[in-house]
C-alpha cells in the first residue's frame, strides 16, 4: 500500500493515514491519554501500560499486528489495528479494532481507517475480517460496520461488563472479502 494517504474529513480538516512506526510510541501514549477511560475500557489492550505497549510494539515487529494511524498536525487522531493469527484454523481471519479521538468522531475518519485496513487485509489474502462490539455502548460503530457489509455473526449474551459492572451483549461481526464478483 502506498502511504501516506491524504484525507479531507467531513469537517474540512485534513489528515494523513500511514503505518504506525516504532518511533510513534510517545505519540500513541499521548493519543490514548486523550481517550476517555470509559472508551479505553473496551479495548483489548491498555495502551497506557508501558509493559503492554512494549509487548504490543514487539507484536508489530513480529508481524502479528498491522497497525495504522491517522495524524493531523503531527498528532495521532486515530489508531486502527488488524490482528493476525499467523497459524492454524483462523489464519484467514483478521480481527480489527479502531479508536478515533473524540474530537474527530462522526467525521468519516473511522470509515477511512476501516477501508484502509480492508485493503490491507485483501492484500494479505485474508478472507474474513472480524470485529467485536459491545452492544448499546458501541451502537454507532455497529451501524457503520453494517454499512460496510459486515454482518452480525454471533451474539454472546451478557458477555461484556461496562465499568459499572452492568452486563452487555458482545456482538461479533464479520465481513467476507471476496476474491471476485459473481453475476446477480
Amino acid at each position: 500500500m502506498r502511504y501516506p494517504k491524504e484525507l479531507v474529513l467531513k469537517s474540512g480538516e485534513e489528515a494523513i493515514i500511514r503505518p504506525l512506526e516504532n518511533t510513534d510510541r510517545q505519540l500513541l501514549v499521548d493519543f490514548y491519554q486523550g481517550i476517555p477511560s470509559d472508551d479505553r475500557w473496551y479495548l483489548r489492550y491498555d495502551f497506557l501500560d508501558p509493559e503492554v505497549l512494549r509487548k504490543w510494539f514487539d507484536d508489530i515487529d513480529s508481524g502479528t499486528v498491522r497497525s495504522i494511524v491517522a495524524l493531523s498536525d503531527d498528532t495521532i487522531i486515530a489508531h486502527a489495528s488488524l490482528y493476525l493469527r499467523g497459524f492454524g484454523s483462523t489464519t484467514h481471519v483478521g480481527r480489527l479494532r479502531i479508536m478515533v479521538a473524540p474530537r474527530f468522531r462522526h467525521k468519516r475518519l473511522g470509515t477511512w481507517m476501516l477501508l484502509d485496513l480492508i485493503q490491507l487485509a485483501l492484500d494479505m489474502g485474508l478472507t474474513d475480517i472480524r470485529s467485536d462490539f459491545v452492544a448499546e455502548v458501541e451502537a454507532a460503530a455497529i451501524d457503520a460496520a453494517f454499512k460496510l457489509d459486515f454482518f452480525k455473526h454471533a451474539t454472546l449474551k451478557d458477555y461484556a461488563k461496562d465499568p459499572d459492572g452492568n452486563r452487555h451483549d458482545l456482538v461479533i461481526m464479520i465481513k467476507r472479502l471476496h476474491r471476485s464478483w459473481s453475476d446477480f
Binding site: R2, V8, G12, L122, H178
Partner: protein, 207 residues
C-alpha cells in the same frame, strides 16, 4: 496529429496509432476477442461508439492494430462528463483515462503499457490532472486468472509507471467496492491552488 509506433509482442508486431481521427478508426475492425464473456464484457465492441468518442472535443483515441486491419487494443482519454464530480474543477483541468483495453489473445505483450505511453504522450500533460477510475466489476478476472485485488494491484503497478498515484476519494461509485480504485497524475505545472481544490473535490468538501 496522428502518430504511429511499432510495439513488438511475442504474438507479432502491433502498430499503436495515437490520436486517431474518425476517418482513421473507420479503417479498422474490432478483433473477434472483443465481446461478451460469461463474467466480462468489453467496454467497446462497436466501431461506431469509438467514432462518436473520437469526434468529441478534447478527446483522444489510441488504437493498437494488428496487420493494419484489426483493433487488438485501445485507449481513450477524454474530459469528465458534465454531471460527474470531476467536472467541478472547470473545463480543461481534468482528463480521464476512460479506457485501456487489450483483447484477450494479445495480453502477454505488455500492450497496455504501449497504449498508455501513446495516450499520455501530450505536450500539455504537465498542465493537467489525468485520472483513472477502476471499477472492479469491469475487470476481466476470468480472462486474467487474477483475483480482484490482484487485478487492482496490477493496475496500480501499470499506472504508477506513468506517475499516477493511488488517491482516496469518497466518490460514491468508487466507494461501492473496496477493490475499486482511483488514481491521479497531477502535472508538474498544475498550480497549488488547483491541487488543493482537487484534494477537496475528491472528498466532496467545499473549501
Amino acid at each position: 496529429m496522428q502518430q504511429e509506433t511499432v510495439w513488438p509482442t511475442p504474438m507479432g508486431d502491433v502498430t499503436i496509432l495515437r490520436h486517431c481521427s474518425v476517418e482513421c478508426i473507420r479503417e479498422y475492425a474490432f478483433g473477434d476477442q472483443f465481446g461478451s464473456y460469461a463474467q466480462y464484457k468489453s467496454l467497446y465492441t462497436h466501431r461506431d461508439s469509438l467514432e462518436d468518442i473520437a469526434s468529441r472535443k478534447d478527446t483522444s483515441v489510441t488504437l493498437a492494430v494488428n496487420d493494419h486491419t484489426q483493433i487488438v487494443g485501445l485507449g481513450l482519454l477524454s474530459p469528465p462528463e458534465p454531471d460527474e464530480r470531476w467536472a467541478g474543477l472547470g473545463s480543461g483541468v481534468m482528463t480521464e483515462v476512460k479506457a485501456v483495453e487489450v483483447s484477450r489473445r494479445w495480453r502477454k505483450g505488455r500492450l497496455a503499457r504501449g497504449i498508455l505511453t501513446a495516450l499520455l504522450f501530450d505536450p500539455d500533460i504537465e498542465e493537467r490532472i489525468i485520472y483513472m477510475v477502476g471499477y472492479s466489476w469491469t475487470w476481466d478476472l476470468d480472462g486474467s486468472g487474477l483475483s480482484a485485488q490482484e487485478y487492482r494491484n496490477m493496475l496500480i503497478r501499470l499506472f504508477t509507471a506513468f506517475k499516477f498515484q493511488e488517491l482516496q476519494t469518497n466518490e460514491p461509485n468508487v466507494c461501492l467496492k473496496p477493490e475499486n480504485l482511483f488514481m491521479g497524475r497531477i502535472g508538474s505545472a498544475v498550480s497549488e491552488e488547483i491541487q488543493k481544490s482537487f484534494k477537496w473535490l475528491r472528498f466532496g468538501v467545499a473549501p
